[in-house]
């Protein structure tokens, strides 16, 4: 095991996979950084430091700085993937997905089905998402709720450095397009990561990060840690929480959720997307449909409000689900009679 930051897990996994398979190529805005400047290539090395050093090691054919052209970035990833490469494209901020949405939604997600199953599109589209940086409405959003509703895409949302390692490797080796959502507030978080260069975590397998019999809490991304803090606090009071880290929202590990709710009878889903048509709504509906008889309380979602992400510290703090808000929700489902 090695101790490393979430961002280091991204970089080292890409580097290991590029080492292993010459078809893996990286492209995006400033993934080299500094091209065409006095500072020269690698003056920056990626704004998230998730591509630092790749250009020096693998060269400009495989580490491609692009103009600020998100449609062309994802489109080029599509063309590379259809031509036998395994592109890892970076969109920098998930919010920029709007500019490239046609290539994600109408192109890479549909090739395999539309073309009768004969086409592989092994493209990974990485992007930094989420609030917590006071980056305001156009650099802080959740996008998983939208992408999870798009058939043909796999949507991955790691919460820990180890999960980054195992899930990103699976993503790069996968023959289908994968949206890899890296929470920007987690980039500096450290954790133990397996050294095995074939360590992979299969998609659609949730992780039970806390175990208990009284309530099920489902989350992923930054908020997973908040849920764990609530579970730890309640454990001291003798209340047991199952905390389920989904890891991937599509495919979804329905079994892990349903199995847990069948024991606890109570469900809280903590989601960074606004409430309508959110992951929280989706999972509450799933449980209502498939585990209704087990429920002892109405399932409850904890979401931000239906507003854009605000800028000021006080506003963003008020916007995001917090440890007290999650705790209040858990206590509410526990107290339901």
């Amino acid at each position: 095991m090695a101790r490393m930051m979430y961002r280091e897990a991204v970089l080292s996994t890409i580097a290991e996979e590029m080492e292993r398979d010459e078809n893996v190529v990286v492209l995006g805005e400033d993934v080299v950084g500094g091209n065409g400047t006095a500072g020269g290539p690698e003056a920056i090395g990626g704004i998230w430091s998730t591509s630092t050093g790749l250009y020096g090691k693998f060269g400009g054919d495989r580490v491609i700085d692009t103009p600020i052209s998100e449609s062309a970035i994802v489109g080029a990833a599509a063309g590379l993937a259809l031509s036998g490469k395994r592109p890892v494209a970076e969109l920098m901020f998930a919010d920029f997905i709007g500019v490239s949405l046609d290539q994600i939604w109408n192109q890479i997600g549909k090739f395999r089905y539309m073309f009768g199953g004969k086409t592989k599109c092994p493209a990974v589209i990485r992007m930094a998402w989420g609030a917590g940086f006071n980056a305001a409405a156009q650099h802080s959003q959740a996008v998983h709720q939208m992408l999870t509703g798009m058939p043909g895409l796999k949507v991955v949302m790691p919460s820990t450095p180890a999960d980054v390692k195992g899930l990103l490797r699976t993503a790069i080796r996968d023959d289908d397009p994968v949206i890899f959502l890296e929470h920007k507030a987690l980039y500096g978080v450290k954790g133990e990561v397996p050294d095995d260069k074939d360590f992979m975590i299969p998609f659609g397998h949730a992780r039970l990060s806390r175990a208990g019999n009284d309530v099920t809490i489902v989350s992923t991304g930054l908020l997973l840690g908040f849920c764990e803090a609530v579970a730890d606090k309640l454990a001291a009071e003798g209340i047991g929480c199952d905390v389920i880290d989904l890891r991937t929202t599509s495919p979804l590990d329905e079994e892990a959720i349903l199995d847990s709710v069948e024991v606890t009878g109570r469900l809280v889903v903590v989601d960074e997307a606004p409430p309508r048509c959110s992951l929280a709504n989706d999972i509450c509906a799933l449980v209502a449909e498939k585990a209704f008889a087990s429920l002892k309380a109405p399932p409850l979602g904890v979401n931000p409000p239906h507003t854009p992400v605000p800028f000021a510290r006080e506003l963003e703090t008020a916007y995001l689900p917090s440890i007290p808000k999650i705790e209040a929700a858990v206590r509410k489902v526990l107290s339901y009679r």
């Binding site: 080029a76 259809l82 031509s83 290539q103 539309m114």
Partner: protein, 324 residues
């Protein structure tokens, strides 16, 4: 360079297959037996064939919503395509794609595309892959005077130049983006190639109603782009669309006698016949024999498509990694 008799016969046959494939669809669609939207390529055959006759399966193309001609010219199976358009389980895409989504990656055909302007970025990626592989292969995107106004096309042109992708932008100017005229929708009211030139590409222009003009122009373009390090290029072919934007389009935007005039004076098939028989390269009998063969092949493709197995409700759920 003079084409051999076999090359001439093959090129003509390819154009004729596209022509008769489309003419037959034009008739069959009116019976209501074929579902969905269909955009026919009739009139532009010289472009698809003049381009694709230079290509191998390792060269890639990305097509458009008006893609039948590109698919056929790139070697997609006639029967498989007809069956696909008829929505059969035995179609090239098992009836899941239809007219606008035909692809055959093994043939280097990376897909027709229902979204105008979506293909160019994909071709840039394929062109980057070709550059990385360094074997002189290329990726070609077909775009019309409609797609040349999409931001994706602009992004793709710049990205291709920046990355020195082995990519060729083939612009087929048929003077109509859907139902709107080129003079209105292309703000410069000039050609499209000059736009590509402004992005820093070497450009060519040719007569898209003349197979030989397309073929010889493309030889020069390909000689250039196949050289490692040269990067992308663009070419514009002036051509004609014999049918409407989609089947069922009343074409009220056409001028009086326009369709008769372009069918009479701008038909690449007629021009080809006149050119090769006039030069004594092929005889009318040679060409008539190809015509008969093609008509039989299309008839056969339609008969097979009509008789082919229909998809089942279970087929909805296959060819996607997960369904809920």
């Amino acid at each position: 360079m003079q084409l051999s008799r076999d090359q001439l016969l093959k090129a003509y046959r390819q154009m004729k297959v596209i022509r008769e494939f489309e003419e037959r669809l034009h008739i069959d669609i009116q019976t209501g037996e074929i579902a969905g939207f269909t955009h026919l390529y009739c009139g532009q055959e010289a472009v698809a064939v003049g381009v694709c006759e230079h290509l191998s399966n390792d060269d890639k193309i990305v097509s458009t919503h008006r893609g039948h001609g590109h698919c056929l010219a790139k070697g997609c199976d006639v029967d498989g395509m007809m069956a696909e358009i008829w929505g059969s389980r035995e179609g090239l895409c098992k009836g899941k794609g239809g007219s606008m989504h035909i692809a055959d990656v093994d043939k280097g055909m990376l897909g027709a595309n229902g979204i105008v302007g979506a293909g160019a970025p994909i071709a840039v990626g394929a062109g980057i892959a070709a550059k990385i592989d360094g074997k002189g292969h290329v990726a070609i995107t077909f775009s019309g005077d409609g797609a040349c106004n999409q931001g994706t096309t602009f992004e793709a042109m710049n990205m291709a130049v920046v990355t020195k992708a082995a990519c060729i932008f083939v612009f087929e100017n048929n003077h109509y983006s859907e139902h709107t005229g080129f003079e209105y929708a292309v703000g410069t009211q000039k050609d499209i190639a000059s736009r590509a030139e402004a992005f820093g590409m070497k450009v060519w222009r040719g007569d898209g109603t003349d197979f030989f003009s397309v073929y010889e122009t493309m030889r020069e373009v390909l000689d250039y782009v196949r050289v490692p390090g040269n990067g992308p290029a663009a070419v514009e072919f002036d051509t004609e669309r014999f049918f409407g934007h989609f089947e069922g389009d009343p074409q009220r935007y056409r001028g009086p006698g326009e369709l008769d005039r372009i069918r009479e004076t701008r038909d690449c098939i007629k021009k080809f016949r006149a050119s090769v028989t006039g030069a004594g390269l092929l005889t009318d009998a040679d060409i008539d024999a190809v015509d008969a063969d093609v008509m039989a092949a299309i008839e056969n493709a339609v008969a097979k498509a009509k008789a082919a197995a229909r998809p089942t409700p279970e087929d909805v759920l296959s060819d996607v990694y997960i369904s809920y």
